[in-house]
Each structure stands twice: as structure tokens, then as C-alpha cells.
Subunit: 342 residues, 2 copies
């Protein structure tokens, strides 16, 4: 390889570091646990050690820079982490300054949902597109918007929070203060809550059995029941798809992007919720109705057909392709974009 950069995915559970070359080839990957309980200094120390070991390995190749995806809102000017529910005690911590001090090099911080979007845009489902949006269905619902090939950060670096679009104006209270956010109906957490609600109202015998027998009763367990044909489990995923469809309809009508990518752990239940997404989109978005592909679920159409310009261009709603590596690739991409702009 000619040049490379280091991407870091700093999650609440895992800390992952990768060396990626300019063609998007991952040449080295390290996965560590994020020892959140030992405090931020310890976590930063682990991260910097791993970054140094990785860059040492490729010492003969020019390092373009270091990009780090962080779960929280980052103040891009100061490099402070303003808020991070998954990294308690990190609020207002000068993350960037501390890492730069230890590594003696410039690093770029970015919100984790934004880097996931950038990863899918660079090498994943939205590879052929310069404008795209991504929804990441995990503990919450993250969002990222890429316009003209670059992350759209907005006036305060807070753009892309599609997960906090209101779906049910008087619905479930959300951690953000709103009621009825998409996150309350389409995250892995929401799937489990809706299953427990169904159980509590005697609405799901199979769900109840699974909840009692499975110590890690999760959205994955509920998806397995849906795959086995359990109607109560299937109803939950239809509701997930309905809520995603309502928000995607608004996104399509407002932004008219060529592609919307759905990723994150809970997107593995795609088969269970996606038919409802397309049903809602056809009904709720006249822009989608006018631009829907012949077979919306066939995501492997030729890139050229998908990229057909102008009025005939199609609106693609599709699964993410890079899985949990999206953020790692996106983070590694950050210094390359910065380099290209220099």
C-alpha cells in the first residue's frame, strides 16, 4: 500500500482499531474491550497504545492520519465530547486534545453514526452515491447524512439525528425529552420493550416462554421467533417497519436522496420489518411512489441502472453491507477526506 490511515471505533463495549489503505483495504484490525469502569484516562491509554502499535507495524508507509468514531455529540471546534450516554463521565472531556497530546499527531473525531454512514458511502451499500442517509438500529437509532460525499454536520455538528423524528406525537417518552421518537419503536431496545409490553398484556405466549427461558432475551431472540412464524413477534417487526417507513417517507419527501441505508445490529431482522417499510413508503411518500424501483427489495441491481441520472433516477432503500465494520472504515476515511481538501 502507498498510504494508510487508522480508524478507531470507540464503542461503549468494544474498542476497535484498524489500519486501512486508500483503496479501502483493511490491513490490520485490533479489537479490545472498552474498560469504561476503569475511567476515561484508562480507555484513552488503551486506545493510544493500540494506535501506536498499529502505526509502528507500518512505519515505512506514510500515515495519513487518525479518525475516531465516538458515541456522542462532539464539539468539532474544541474536540470536547459534549454528551455521551454510553461513556459516562466523559462529558466535556477534551478527548481530542488528550489523544493528540499522547500521540503527538492530529486526530479527527466524529460521531459514530456519522462515520458509519461515511463507511457505507465509501465501501458499502451506497458506494456509487455521493448523497445518502443511513439509519443505524442499535441500542438507539443513530443517523448520518452524507451530502456531496461529505458528512453533513449542520451548524452545530448535531445534524443526522433521524432517530429522534416524531412518529407518534403522544407516544413513548424518549431519553431525548420528546415523545414518540423513531428510536422508541425501531431500536433493539424498543423491540424488547414492545415484546415485554405484549407479554404483560397476555398477548404473546411464545414471547413469554422465550423471555422466561432465555436469560439474554433480546431483539435477536424475538427475531428468531418471528422467523419461526410466531405472529406476536412478527407483529412487533411489522410495527418497527411501519415506524421506519413513516420516517423514511418524510426523509424521501424532504431530501429526495438516491439511497437510504439501514444498518446496525437490529437491521439483521431486515426480512421481518422491511416489507412494512416499503408498504408505508408507497402509501406515504409521493416522491417514493414516483421513483420506486421495479423491485424495491432487490438491492443488487446494477449500479449503472441505479445511478441513471435525472427524473428517471430511482430511490433505493437498502440494508447496510459492512456490518459492524462500517464505523471503522468511515473513521479511517476521515483523514483521507481531510487530506484531499488540503
Amino acid at each position: 500500500m502507498n498510504k494508510f490511515s487508522i480508524g478507531v471505533d470507540l464503542g461503549g463495549t468494544n474498542l476497535r482499531i484498524a489500519a486501512v489503505d486508500e483503496q479501502g483495504k483493511l490491513v490490520e484490525k485490533v479489537t479490545l474491550g472498552t474498560k469504561v469502569s476503569l475511567g476515561r484516562d484508562h480507555v484513552i491509554g488503551d486506545m493510544c497504545d493500540a494506535i501506536q502499535r498499529t502505526s509502528e507495524k507500518f512505519r515505512d508507509t506514510p500515515l495519513l492520519g487518525i479518525g475516531i468514531g465516538v458515541p456522542g455529540i462532539i464539539d468539532m471546534q474544541t474536540g470536547l465530547l459534549r454528551e455521551s450516554p454510553n461513556l459516562p463521565g466523559w462529558a466535556d472531556y477534551p478527548v481530542r486534545a488528550e489523544i493528540e497530546r499522547r500521540l503527538k499527531t492530529i486526530v479527527i473525531l466524529e460521531n459514530d453514526a456519522n462515520v458509519a454512514a461515511l463507511g457505507e458511502k465509501w465501501l458499502g451499500a451506497a458506494k456509487d452515491f455521493s448523497d445518502m442517509a443511513m439509519l443505524t438500529l442499535g441500542t438507539g437509532v443513530g443517523g448520518g447524512l452524507v451530502l456531496g460525499g461529505a458528512i453533513w454536520r449542520g451548524a452545530n455538528g448535531m445534524a443526522g439525528e433521524f432517530g429522534h423524528t416524531t412518529v407518534e406525537p403522544e407516544g413513548q417518552l424518549c431519553g431525548c425529552g420528546n415523545r414518540g421518537c423513531l428510536e422508541q419503536y425501531a431500536s433493539a431496545t424498543a423491540v424488547v420493550r414492545m415484546a415485554r409490553e405484549a407479554i404483560a398484556s397476555n398477548g404473546g405466549p411464545a414471547l413469554a416462554r422465550a423471555a422466561n427461558s432465555d436469560p439474554e432475551f433480546s431483539s435477536k431472540s424475538i427475531y428468531n421467533l418471528a422467523v419461526q412464524g410466531d405472529e406476536d413477534a412478527r407483529r412487533i417487526f411489522r410495527y418497527v417497519g411501519r415506524c421506519l417507513g413513516i420516517v423514511l417517507s418524510a426523509m424521501v419527501n424532504s431530501l429526495n436522496l438516491p439511497i437510504y441505508v439501514i444498518g446496525g445490529g437490529a437491521s439483521s431482522a431486515w426480512e421481518a420489518f422491511s416489507p412494512s417499510i416499503f408498504e408505508e413508503l408507497r402509501r406515504r411518500s409521493f416522491v417514493y411512489a414516483a421513483t420506486a424501483p421495479h423491485d424495491p427489495m432487490a438491492t443488487n441491481e446494477g449500479a449503472s441502472a441505479r445511478l441513471e441520472a435525472g427524473p428517471g433516477r430511482k430511490t433505493i432503500i437498502t440494508r447496510a453491507l459492512l456490518g459492524s465494520d462500517a464505523g471503522l472504515y468511515g473513521a479511517a476515511r476521515l483523514p483521507m477526506i481531510a487530506e484531499a481538501r488540503r
Copy 2:
């Protein structure tokens, strides 16, 4: 003046033509009725005659071009009007080619809500901003998005349709096919419908009196009752504000723009509905809560304070300033932007 361009606002009722110089000075304005019933050839003929008379008047000044705001979806490649509820019989009519043939010059067509946004961005409420969105509350609810100083048209030229964001998933059926669109709760048409609903359920004695005595019972009549303190009329505008607040919350969370402008005829009821907008925004958008100005309704803050960069930058929600001229100025601006890009 050094150079000028001609802006046209082709509405379902009025046809307006203006000559505007590069500094945004309106040097000539002509208002004609749009004789829709005489057919599209007649309307195009009236328009071209008025454009020619106007350009003749300034024959010694270089004409930069002609921009036309049209109520409908325009295919930018072919210049066809794809759909236009207010111009029946115009669908798939080659508007641009026909005008260019008659005038023997190049014209630029654009959606009317988009040109209104561009007008407010150039000379109105969003003058100091390069990124902004506008909602136009009229017969329907139009929307326009300006990013980096240019209209964001999306992959098919259909972006900006914020008026068709779902507010009530099982609410009022909309002309677009969806249920519960913002347009069904925040347009002038919706205000009248909600008043008639209140009357039908015996909920508005003053509204009923006004509806019976006023042959042109309109959103303006209902606003007048609200100003006089009629609680039933006031409740309707609170609901308008609530629905606008729900959609603006999603826009703020998704796009994090520095300014959102609300215009159109029904925005004259600003005093009646805007308090509810701000109430919803504070509650529903954590991005707004983090960036709200000290006094959100004081729209005459100094531009420098409003433009403060970075994390301290404020989110402004404000009334449009140019009234019905926004579209005329925006249309005139189109050839200037095209010229600057050449």
C-alpha cells in the same frame, strides 16, 4: 443598474413579472391575472408579452436571464411540468421549450416553493445564511431547502416537500395519498377545514357566526377571531403551531440548519401559532433545546449574533420578510446564480 434579470411568479391566480438588478433592487413589476381558463397557450402568451415589454424597457442594460417560479414539479432536464394541481391541463407540457421558442432566449424554471426559499435566502429573513429551509403556508404547505447557497433539488428535483411530513400517522387523508401530512394541519385550507369541523361538532359559536355571515370565510377570518380572543379560533392556531413544531423539530434534529423561515399567506397568523411552535421545539428537539436563542421570538437580533459560528451558533425560527414577493425575487435570482457558475 449594471445588469438585471427578469423573475416571473406564475401562480394559479396571479402572474407577476419583475425586473430585478444584481443588488436585489426591484426596478419594475407587472401583475396580471393568470387566465387559466383560457388555456396554457394563452397564459404563456400573456407571460411572454409581459417579459418582452419589460426587457424592452431596459434594452440598454444587459439581461442576465429569465427565471420562472412554477407551482408544480418540474423535470429540470426536459423543462416539462410533471404535475401541477393549480395549473390543470399543463401536465407534461413543455413549458420551458415553449417559452424559449417564443422569447428566443434561455429560461430557468423552478418550483415555486423553492424560489420563495431562494428569495428569502437572498434578500429576506435568511439573508445572512447560506443554509436555510422555508415552509410556505398557503393553499398547501410548500417547502424549500437551500444548502450552500443553492436550492437543494435532490436526485429527481423533488426535494423540499416538508409539507408532506407525517404528523398524525392515522390522521386526515392528504391529496398526496398519505394520511396526516403537515399540509392537512398547517395550510390556510386546513385552518378553514378545522374551523368547519369545530362548527360541525358545536364547538365554535363565534366561528359559526363568522362562517354564516362571511361569504369569504377564510383562515384570515379565523385569525381575526383569534386576535379578538375567541378561544375556539385560538385553539385551531395552537394546533397549527403544534403540528409545525413537530415537523420543525424533526427538521432541526435532522439538518441542524441555522435558520428556518415560515412564510406564505397563512403565516400572517404568526402571533397566534408561533408560541406553540417554540413550545413543541423545546420539548421535542434536543438539538433545538441546545441551540435556542435566549428569546426565540425576537427575530430582529443582530445578524452578527445570529451568525456566531460553531457550537454557540443559534437555531433561528422566524417569519418570512418578503411576503408574496419572495418568489419573484427568488425567480430573478436563478439566472444570476447560473451566471456565477458559468
